[in-house]
């Protein structure tokens, strides 16, 4: 007979947490549900930003998908809790398609996980200060800086950038990878110890 898992929640695999939610009476595994929510709401939100191009819609998506996931876990309707990530991703795709199709985004602000206080979504996507970004941007090679601006400000593809800069699309991508890595290194180096 196995006793309750006393490992800290943050150290436990997703599948363990999902199994705990599935095996407990509804609403009696709040800590495991909270940890699953903390982990996956952020991933769903990033997915939502990429596909819906709207921060509020991404927030709505995260709320709605996690509501579905936790309800399905509680109801024992997820056959393999070890595949919880896969279930949440496929649900995110389905719900995002629905959100795009119906444009009923605002309604979902009202949706909350039942029982307990509304949970704030992780807001760790605060932007870097412009005073930190500017010197790092300035330290890049000319072509890398231009490529980052065209990619992330003007939202041009590598092929479009290549035409405008007299480079190949492959060279644009390589330069962009190098520039993003250099920017991260520069921002890390500027962080207070």
């Amino acid at each position: 007979m196995t006793g309750p898992d006393t490992a800290p929640f943050v150290d436990r695999p997703d599948g363990d947490l999902a199994r705990e939610v599935a095996s407990a009476p509804a609403g009696h595994a709040a800590a495991a549900e909270g940890e699953l929510y903390r982990r996956f709401a952020r991933r769903i939100r990033l997915f939502g930003v990429r596909h819906l191009h709207d921060d509020m819609a991404a927030d709505d998506l995260a709320q709605q998908v996690m509501l579905i996931a936790i309800e399905r876990l509680r109801a024992g309707e997820i056959r393999n809790p070890d595949e919880i990530g896969s279930f949440i991703l496929s649900t995110s795709r389905m719900v995002a398609t629905g959100l795009r199709r119906t444009e009923r985004r605002r309604e979902h602000l009202q949706m909350r996980i039942e029982a307990g206080e509304p949970v704030d979504l992780p807001r760790d996507e605060r932007l870097f200060d412009a005073d930190r970004i500017r010197p790092c941007l300035a330290s890049l090679r000319e072509r890398e800086r231009t490529i980052l601006l065209l990619t992330y400000y003007v939202e041009r593809s590598a092929t479009e950038i290549a035409v405008g800069m007299g480079m190949s699309a492959g060279a644009v991508r390589v330069a962009r990878h190098r520039a993003v890595a250099a920017m991260r290194d520069c921002l890390e180096a500027g962080r207070p110890a």
């Binding site: 695999p13 990530g85 300035a138 000319e142 800086r145 400000y153 939202e155 590598a158 991508r173």
Partner: protein, 193 residues
């Protein structure tokens, strides 16, 4: 803790995820990995912050770079206040910025045919070097480069004539420049009323 399935994603893959360049199969593969890997979630969120921060800095004209018309069009869509000049090789212009300008753009015209990259050096009247840019890509057959500078930088520049000298990056030392431009800098002006 979420274990990552297989090898973690590279910074290049994660930066491509936020662009129009990512192939649908790669997008699905990246999402499947991120939904099972906390380390790659962190990295993906970091790249998201970085791209948004770059966009924010660009939107205020807080960078200096050689750019394309598509970036100027984006400035126009975003309502960025741009002061623009156009100069032929050997030409000079009396230039200044006003207090509400955000970006100074100069179209540097010359025959750049046969040149793939140039270096540009800005010198004060005294000969002292004020700024330098190296390895600026030149599209084939180009007759114009577009230089963007933050108006804030120009406000701090000395009120003296400055000379911009443009050379092919591949030119041996001592070879004549491709073009020179004189900026008769008249400082910063304030609008009345």
């Amino acid at each position: 803790m979420t274990a990552g399935p297989g090898v973690c994603l590279s910074i290049g893959e994660l930066s491509d995820y936020w662009t129009a360049d990512v192939f649908p199969d790669d997008m699905e593969r990246i999402e499947a990995h991120v939904f099972a890997c906390s380390a790659c979630t962190e990295l993906l969120a970091d790249v998201d912050r970085l791209r948004r921060s770059i966009g924010d800095v660009a939107r205020t004209g807080g960078f200096q770079a050689f750019v394309t018309d598509s970036l100027l069009n984006q400035f126009a869509r975003d309502g960025v206040r741009v002061r623009a000049y156009a100069m032929d090789a050997g030409g000079s212009v009396q230039c200044a910025v006003w207090d509400d300008d955000e970006v100074l753009v100069t179209r540097l015209r010359a025959d750049f045919r046969g040149v793939t990259a140039v270096d540009a050096v800005m010198r004060l009247d005294s000969g002292e070097e004020w700024a330098r840019a190296s390895d600026i890509p030149v599209p084939e057959g180009s007759r114009e480069l577009i230089m963007a500078l933050p108006a804030a930088l120009i406000r701090r520049a000395p009120e003296v004539p400055m000379r911009l000298i443009v050379r092919s990056s591949a030119a041996p030392p001592g070879e004549s420049p491709l073009a020179e431009y004189t900026f008769d800098h008249r400082g910063a002006h304030t609008r009345r009323g």
